[in-house]
Amino acid sequence: MLKGNIAIAKAALKCGCSCYFGYPITPQTEIGEYLSSEMQEKNLAFVCAESELAAINMALGAASSGAKVMVSSSSCAISLMQETLSYASSDEIPFVLINIMRAGPGQGYIFPSQADYNQSTIGGGNGDYRIITLSPSTVQECIDLTYRAFYLSQKYRNPAILLADGLLGQMAQGVILKENPYPEIDNSSWILNGAKNRPARKICSLEPNQEKLNSHIEKLFKKYKTIEEKEVLYEEYLCNDADIILTAFGTMGRYSKAICNYYRKNGVKMGLFRPITLYPFPNKRLNELSQKTKFFIDIEMNMGQMLKDVKLALAKDATCKFIKKPIGDWSGQEETIAEIDEILKEKYANNI
């Protein structure tokens, strides 16, 4: 049994994370607490940064040296890091950022929430860039996707975010802490380790030449296209014969699976489509599903941030309803079932 936060910390160490920079914020502080002792024992770099700004910039420096680097934080503090995410994307410097989301906007509170979907997939930094975003729905996935976040980040030389909510960070589940399944990525061609027997290397985003800056951005977007073609992950649950498909990510994906089971028992052919990569979003597969199934219900622990991506992906003649709850306790299903019942009543009355 492991709590999500601890599972992420253990997984990071297992795949060779040698530098962690952090600043406390609930509900993810245990990641830093756990790593503070573990990394010291192993002679790895653990720095209690003076701010989130400092933490993410220490990550920028450490990752430019070729180390596997992780920073963890939560929502309002991730806001402070957006500038450096923009720099790291342009500089093509890989590191992993863990966001154990809390409710916002502003300071909000430590209630569970999924309201950083936009922050993560669209970004709050300046300029044209994308951040790989992985969304676990169980503690086991916290481990598996931490491994994957390190791998994808290194493979594409781009920051990657593991986007989980406070429920997942605080929840304990039985897990298998297997070995990191991904190969090591050779970074010897670009890291900064001293210009010995080779010309000096420069990592910077400043580019006063218009043509060069233009082609740099084009190059980045060619890379993003490859990521969109190759790295999409999703889970389909009982979608093949479904009349209704729920869409949900993270904890709400797991929750929605139980909702599906309930309706299946009651004779409603319901399925679940759960994006695991939020960027790249699985719009192609969702569109394919909507060629056959025409009724979707999106369920999110926010005011409808993934909803726009779902709607964009669906076929034009498909309907998408939305069930929202910006924050809080989703442990009981009754409320959601009552809302779905209402939607279904309307659906069958109008024969949608």
Binding site: C19, N57, L60, G61, A62, L192, G194, A200, I203
Partner: protein, 252 residues
């Protein structure tokens, strides 16, 4: 024939500084390059450049280099130093920042790097204004100084007081060396070089955070000739910013 002066090896071949006429950045960079040569550090160094007039440094020095977001150079340098240490490698890591970068937007990162005793070196060029954006008032602008955002002169009632950076850094227990130098004449240029050398050597010896603040001219934004600028540093600025060594861990 004996060679008595040549371009430091650490300066890139055929590089031409793009600084304004009379700006002291060029002298400061040359001193840094000379010291890196003399200490044999070029191949083992990683430079952290910053935002402001200092930003183009990587185009002049044959060093591995990363650009830090504005003000974050000491945090980036911390990450670099620690990451290499974990791999069992001691790299020489220094930042080259302006006063706006080091002491305004980046004061938190700068001060905390010193407090942690981070084994890096920071060089801060203090020209008492935000040079690259056209000479606005900065935290280092002296009382009475006219800038584009203090047209009546900096006054303490509205704008507060200038920051004495080298003295503040000297107060941090993790600091091994903190000095303020100037470049207005040969004697002071040599003193500046010695201070840079000491700061670099202290990092090599693992003694903690080392810091050199360099009072530098900004003729364009000060609306003065290069010579008048140097006179201003010698006769006026040193009253607010006295030259000297404020901390030397070996002499304390």
């Amino acid at each position: 024939m004996q060679t008595i002066f040549e371009t430091p090896k650490t300066i890139k071949e055929n590089s031409r500084f793009s600084f304004c006429p009379g700006c002291d950045h060029g002298v400061a960079i040359k001193l840094v390059a000379q010291v890196l040569d003399e200490l044999g550090l070029q191949e083992n160094t990683i430079l952290v450049a910053s935002s402001g007039c200092s930003v183009n440094l990587y185009d002049y020095l044959e060093l591995d280099c990363i650009e830090a977001p504005h003000g974050r150079a000491c945090a980036v340098a911390t990450g670099i130093k620690r990451a290499h240490k974990v791999q069992g490698k001691e790299k020489f890591v220094f930042t080259y920042q302006g006063d706006g970068d080091f002491a305004s937007i980046g004061l938190g990162e700068s001060l905390h790097s010193a407090l942690r005793g981070e084994n890096i070196t920071a060089i801060c060029i203090n020209n008492t204004n935000f040079g690259m954006t056209g000479g606005q008032m900065g935290p280092t602008s002296v009382l009475g100084q006219i800038t584009s955002t203090s047209p009546q002169g900096r006054n303490k009632e509205t704008h507060g007081f200038p920051i004495k950076t080298a003295e503040h850094i000297a107060l941090c227990d993790g600091t091994s060396f903190s000095a303020r130098v100037a470049l207005f004449d040969v004697k002071n240029i040599l003193k500046a070089k010695n201070a840079i050398k000491k700061a670099f050597e202290y990092q090599k010896q693992g003694l903690g955070f080392s810091f050199v603040e360099i009072l530098a001219s900004c003729p364009t934004n000060w609306r003065l000739s290069p010579l008048e600028s140097h006179n201003k540093i010698e006769n006026e600025l040193t009253k607010t910013y006295p030259l000297g060594i404020f901390k030397d861990i070996k002499n304390d």
